[in-house]
Amino acid sequence: MWLYVIKRLLQGIVTVWFIATATFFAMHNVPGDPLLNDRAVTEAIRANLEAKYGLDQPIGTQYLIYLRNLSQGDFGISFTQENREVNDIIREHFPVSAILGILAVVFAAAGGVLFGALTALYRNRLPDYIIMFLVILGISVPSFVVAALSQLTLVTLNSAVGTTVLPVAGWGTILHMLVPAMVLGLGTMAYLTRLMRSSMLEVISSDFVRTAKSKGVPPARIFAKHQLRNAILPVITVLGPAIAAITTGGFVVELVFAIPGLGRYFVQAVQQLDYTVIMGTTVFYGAFLVFMVIVVDVLYGFIDPRVRLE
């Protein structure tokens, strides 16, 4: 088991290295120069930066310097913001994105499992039709549309009540987090609902559920101990990619709801061609996602004993 975790972590490091390399060379092939824009940087600063990152050196040398800094956990200094290290930007703003993301994932997973199981149990009856209709909506409507619509709903609601029931945008309290997390998790929740439904349908008609019935196990216990745990396995499998989908989707939702998360800096950095911030956030997000996928895979072993012994 531990050997498996270590093996996966080593593989993860290789993956992150690929991401870092690809980002580095992609950035170097983007036309433009962040040091040549309006907010001209003094010759001295320019010289310092060139020296630090070897910007006057051949690209191979630059790449080695970049890797060396990266391996020490140093993502570098922002090219466009004064006195800002990329590490600081991540440290300050990633927790906001992470809380939003975790809330969204919890919402998506809990909702997906619950609604998926419900639709399977009520197959081809009214609850199934209603939920599946909403699922199709959730999958096909992009999150920025849902985000704007939910803001409109909140505005209407708040003005109807007369006070602020739920804030329309911004960040700070748990109330600020609820709606953005729901909007962010909606697409994934819809996807997980569909997955859970088909997996649950398979489990409902399986031999071991029939065995449980023949033992006289009450329906609630069959649901909890025999059906849910087996039906949930495919959902756990896609939870890794689902986390990826939610975190990347976070950029848009953060922007719409004016949430000071990392996504906003990422988008800004791309617009301003801020090399270090782009590379830093990309590598950081990449590493985070790789790590989450590994966590999910390890988690899988705890739920399915067949995966554990390998």
Partner: protein
């Protein structure tokens, strides 16, 4: 109706099933899978229900256990009485759950019939916790004892393992341990050895017989293997197209077969007796369409002895003697030829 009724005066059997009929709604129409089945099971005895695939043997017992999905399934008539009390369509009897506590059941494929994410011990302990109010600890200890009873070595260690760590034969032993955990009065075994190797089959059958001797439970054994029937059964019910066509003691059914279908089954069975030059005789044709069951005897188109009446009217039960009956016109007093003359022309009965 029936010879079963004759026995009623003597004693109430452990289980009596009468006129049980089950239908399924499908896109193709209504399938009449079971069309009036009667049988009885006595304490400590084994009843074998034999017949080919699709004859309704599994549906018969599953409808008794409430295991048929309804809809599309539907029990249209009949009764099943356990010690005189109706159990059909009911879950509880005298405040006691029927499934698991009164009737235990094991299935054909042990590989898929156990929950892959629960330990064997937990699965055996589950009915004890539910029906007997055992704590988890007590139930798990009892489960280890039951595994030992089912002759699983290192039971304490095995109880903590998962189904994928067991072989097929071991899983079937664990299934048996689970089915008898609450000391049911009846064990239903739905083709318990079909998915297993021949050598393992014998071990499982021996185990079932030994446990029957120890606990005094009755066994309903569903199979299409006449070898298994000969080895295990006290009584045999032969089913064809959703009906019992012959019912009697194992000796009567094997040596004094009364229904042409039983005879056909025997002819189709391989033998390893070197003195008998016996060529396997398959039964030609296929069973009737149960979407539209024929008005007469279902076996008529395949029966070598079929008469005119067989095609149009369903035969009444004919009692050859008490506890041995056959549904066949040949036994009617107006039948021109006697079954004994037809069946046993060139061999002694």
């Amino acid at each position: 109706m029936s010879g079963v009724a004759l026995a009623e005066e003597t004693a109430t059997p452990l289980l009596r099933v009468e006129n049980l009929a089950v239908e399924f709604d499908t896109y193709g129409g209504i399938v009449k899978a079971v069309r009036g089945v009667d049988f009885t099971v006595d304490q400590g005895k084994t009843l074998a229900i034999v017949g080919e695939s699709g004859c309704g043997k599994s549906v018969t017992v599953q409808s008794m256990m409430g295991l048929i999905p309804m809809p599309p399934g539907r029990i249209t008539s009949g009764s099943a009485r356990l010690r005189g009390n109706e159990v059909l369509g009911r879950n509880r009897l005298d405040g006691k759950e029927i499934r698991g506590a009164e009737i235990g059941m094991i299935f054909q494929d042990p590989m898929t019939s156990l929950n892959p994410t629960m330990t064997i011990g937990d699965q055996i302990a589950e009915p004890l916790q539910i029906h007997k109010g055992f704590t988890y600890r007590q139930a798990f200890d009892e489960a280890i004892g039951l595994l030992e009873m089912s002759r699983i070595p290192e039971a304490a260690k095995r109880a903590r393992q998962y189904p994928f760590e067991f072989s097929g034969g071991m899983l079937q032993r664990a299934m048996i341990a689970m089915a008898i955990s609450c000391k049911p009065s009846i064990l239903i075994a739905d083709e318990p050895t079909t998915a297993l190797d021949v050598t393992i089959q014998a071990q499982i059958l021996d185990l079932m017989q030994d446990l029957q001797r120890e606990t005094g439970m009755a066994i309903i054994l569903i199979t299409h293997d006449l070898g298994v029937v000969a080895r295990m059964a006290d009584e045999v019910a032969v089913m064809y197209a959703g009906k019992v066509v012959e019912h009697g003691s194992v000796d009567d059914v094997f040596y004094r077969s009364a229904h042409p279908y039983t005879l056909g089954l025997k002819e189709a069975m391989p033998t390893n007796d070197p003195t008998k030059q016996h060529e396997l005789q398959p039964i030609e044709g296929s069973p009737p369409d149960l979407f539209a069951p024929p008005p007469g005897c279902g076996y008529c188109p395949r029966c070598p002895f079929a008469m005119q009446i067989c095609d149009t009217r369903h035969p009444e039960d004919s009692f050859l003697k008490e506890q041995h009956f056959s549904r066949c016109w040949l036994h009617h007093e107006d039948s021109p030829s006697k079954p004994a003359d037809l069946y046993f022309k060139d061999s002694d009965p």
